[in-house]
């Protein structure tokens, strides 16, 4: 019991207070209850509370007190933003992770975006159910691209190598390589010498769901981060508006 909680002056009478508005109540008892109420804060608080509740519930909007409150527009916005952020976390290409801060984008893309770079996968990326698509930026005057992919199992000593030549800026790896493990992909435009250093390489992994989720959480796309920050801001503002 809190220090500020009222005590009933005479609990023997206080216990009968629920009969206070019973029309058939004995007049002597009614008189006793009325006198008790005039001096007892605890019981009169109960009576006041009842008339407060009765007043509120009897109003035309009384039914609303029995329904769960509907979420306000900012609440919906915040919830939608959180859901969108989670969805985008997995749908959009991964972000640069700590590279947002360290400007390590060049390393992640296997090259400078103004010259020639591999668009996907990123350096170090973990892919789940990857279908084997490899994409890069075009190089002017290129006749074709030499593709070299090495695969190495992380649980056994198995390994494989695959080569191809394509004219487009993307290639799909064969089904035989669609296995979990570490990959190294090298793309080399022909004729040589069209770009400095000649070729671009990225190392990545095809893994199970958990490592994939962990990677995505560490490398969120910027849009996902922005939406999360927005929902956090709206949520915090709503929380403080409610509390003050």
């Amino acid at each position: 019991m809190s220090l500020l909680e009222f005590e009933c002056v005479d609990p023997k009478i206080g216990e009968q207070m629920h009969l206070f508005d019973d029309e058939s109540l004995d007049p002597d008892l009614r008189d006793q209850l009325e006198r008790h109420l005039a001096v007892c804060h605890a019981c009169s608080e109960g009576v006041h509370f009842e008339s407060f509740v009765a007043g509120r519930l009897a109003s035309p909007r009384g039914a609303g007190f029995f329904r769960k409150p509907t979420t306000s527009l900012p609440g919906y916005l915040a919830m939608t933003a959180v859901l969108a952020a989670i969805l985008l976390l997995f749908l959009l290409p991964p972000g640069y992770g700590t590279g947002w801060l360290t400007d390590d984008r060049e390393g992640l893309r296997g090259g400078d975006e103004r010259e020639f770079m591999i668009i996907r996968p990123l350096e170090g990326e973990v892919l789940y159910r990857w279908r084997g698509d490899l994409r890069w930026t075009p190089v002017v005057n290129t006749s074709f691209y030499n593709i070299h992919v090495e695969w190495r199992s992380e649980t056994s000593s198995e390994g494989a190598t695959w080569r191809d030549q394509v004219r487009t800026c993307q290639v799909s790896l064969p089904d035989s390589l669609m296995r979990e493990g570490a990959f190294l992909a090298i793309v080399k435009p022909y004729p040589e010498g069209l770009v400095p250093a000649g070729e671009r390489a990225v190392g990545f992994r095809r893994g199970s769901l958990l490592p994939f989720l962990a990677y995505r959480i560490k490398h969120p796309p910027l849009a996902s981060l922005a939406l999360l920050a927005l929902s956090l801001g709206v949520g915090t503002a709503m929380f403080y508006r409610r509390r003050i």
Partner: protein, 205 residues
């Protein structure tokens, strides 16, 4: 001595109320002083108000033993101290800026407006936290306006007293939930103190 003064008060002996007042005074002041320590509330005022309402009560009561007169008086003083402390606290926590935009200039006291606004949210939370049976009773009685007798018949209860009792239990639970939501001070503002003023209105009617 307290008992003698009390008996004299019941018998209508002149100055008996004054004697009882002076006999109870030191004991009640001892109760109130530590309660109100570290506040700017004067315990003398609280004891005075308590004694005035107590004497009015004692004049019409005939069944109190000596110890009960003193015990009654102590509880009344402690409750009054709690009452003033609660009101003080309620005023301190109020932030008017929260409802600045919703206040209608010609309406009631801004404090009451704020309390009404917050109470609606808290009442909603408190009602939803009640068991279904309580929600049904409160909805039928207060929202649908059914009488206790009608509802008791619908619920096939043996007597209306049972429903009065259940309603009271539900209201107690509701009050507990309501206070848990942070509304403890608000109840006091809505219906402060004891119900003496309610009966004054009733007499006028």
């Amino acid at each position: 001595m307290i008992q003698k003064a009390y008996s004299d008060l019941l018998a209508g002996v002149p100055d008996s109320d004054d004697r009882l007042y002076r006999l109870l005074w030191p004991q009640l002041l001892r109760q109130a002083t530590p309660f109100l320590a570290h506040t700017d509330i004067d315990p003398v005022d609280v004891v005075q108000d308590s004694l005035i309402s107590l004497l009015a009560y004692f004049r019409n009561s005939s069944d109190l033993a000596d110890c009960r007169v003193a015990a009654y008086a102590s509880v009344v003083v402690r409750n009054r101290c709690r009452d003033v402390l609660r009101r003080k606290r309620a005023k301190l926590v109020v932030r008017f800026d929260k409802i600045a935009g919703t206040l209608k200039s010609s309406l009631k006291d801004p404090l009451e407006e704020l309390v009404a606004l917050e109470n609606s949210e808290w009442l909603n939370e408190a009602i939803l936290a009640l068991p279904q049976s309580c929600r049904t009773i409160l909805k039928e009685l207060y929202y649908r306006g059914r009488t206790v007798r009608e509802l008791a018949e619908t619920m096939k209860l043996n007597s209306v007293q049972v429903l009065y009792y259940r309603r009271n239990q539900c209201l107690k639970k509701l009050k507990r939930n309501f206070k848990k939501s942070g509304a403890s001070e608000s109840i006091d503002i809505l219906g402060a103190g004891t119900t003496a003023h309610l009966f004054k209105n009733r007499e006028k009617e």
